[in-house]
Amino acid sequence: MDKLIIGRYLPGDSLIYRLDPRLKFLITFYFIGIVFLANNVASYAFLLVFVLFAVYVSKVNLLFFIKGLRPMFWLILFTVALQAFFTPSNDPIWHWAFLTLSKDGLVIAAYIFMRFVLIIFISTLLTLTTTPIEISDSIESILKPLKVVKFPVTQVALMLSIALRFVPLLIDETTKIMDAQRARGVDFGEGGLIKRIKAFVPILIPLFVSSFSIAYDLAIAMESRGYKDGEGRSKYRVLNWSKRDNWTIVFMVLVTAILLLLRSYR
């Protein structure tokens, strides 16, 4: 059950931890965007150096990032193999039926592999150094301009933070209900597929019922403490933009410039 936890935040303290979460959030997406600008060995190598530098500055053990690759292993393998064997070429190294292995194909496969590594590393860096609640606060702050078009920004942000808060609660509840049904003779992981799926009905229904009652209780508790959405709510966690965030932006501009430069060398 522990594996299900979204955004495995790792408590720590370093420059990356102290950056404004909004900036981290935006840079992560920006970086994922510019990864697709890289087009040669030099530019990929440069991006890799950048990511490794960020990991170094964050003071988080590199092993956590390598572990982050593991759940994606099959997807990476499949995509890389697809690129390696299906890139058409006039100069194949190896050929069998519809499979072709060529230098071009291998190079493209290596690039794809690099993209995966870069994107997974940078997003792992975000989730390891930013608490889920900071991320949801950032989303609220970033979406604020949408208020002009009557998009319910505060409600969406509230939904996000409640959802995050409920994850551990629901995991506890699930464990409890599973124990109760086990004690009544349910055997999870026994029998055929249909039987296994059926074994989950006695968990899902009570889980549904209790989620509704928890939600109902929460709504009453919030209203009785005077919760009212909309304008004028102050915030307990205030996001602070500081000088180091400005410097980070300057740094990112430099990174982009170098990347564009390297890109033009063929």
Binding site: A180, R184, G185, I205, V209
Partner: protein, 267 residues
Amino acid sequence: MSGLGLADVSCTIESGQFTAIVGKTGSGKSTMVKHINALLKPTSGTITVGDHQITPETDNKNLKPLRKKVGMVFQFPESQLFEDTVEKDIMFGPKNFGFTEAEAKAAAEKMIEVVGLGPEYLKKSPFDLSGGQMRRVAIAGVLASDPETIILDEPTAGLDPVGRKEIMDLFKAQQQKGKTIILITHNMDDVANYADKLMVMHDSRLVGLGTPQEIFNDHELLEKNYISLPQSAIFAEKLADKGFTFSKLPITISELTAEIKEQIHGD
């Protein structure tokens, strides 16, 4: 504590006895009872239930015969209800344990009466019932599999006093039919009124085991483990300050009234 949920818990719970387990929140009571029907397995040591042995190597398969023998009523058991009628929900356990449809139906009809609800409840949806009635249905669902041992984890939490007494009397009646009852509770009056044996847990360890009379007389043990006395005993201690004398600490109301009567008539 090095992350151990339980350490050094060695005891024997005799068949046919009503054993209560007390201890403050987080002392390991629930963790301990979950070992009795192998919801948890020990990292070292063994648990023997009748002719079943649970060891760290016990396979997760083939636990059904054990779980049929050891029924378990969790805290707030009403959260385990899921079928569309009360009858089907009560039949769920028995059917998992190999009862035929007819046997399970008969068990449901019998148990709905045992928990104090009429047969008219069988066709209702459990989600239309009140909290107290749902609790009774859930208890019926556990009793219906006819377990030899019944583990109760604070079965009366949140019930009104009348409902509480009815439920506790129901478990006592089950004991008189030969079942072994293990009750986790914070209510010392329930301990005094119903239990034959009392176990005290503290910091994942078993720190006291004896009859309620023995444990309630062990002031040092009670104080160390934040355990209060039953109301009758508290009352008796106050009377003792005023000059009453008691042959032994009265822990139930009937013991208390019997002793007081004697002394008032004696004057």
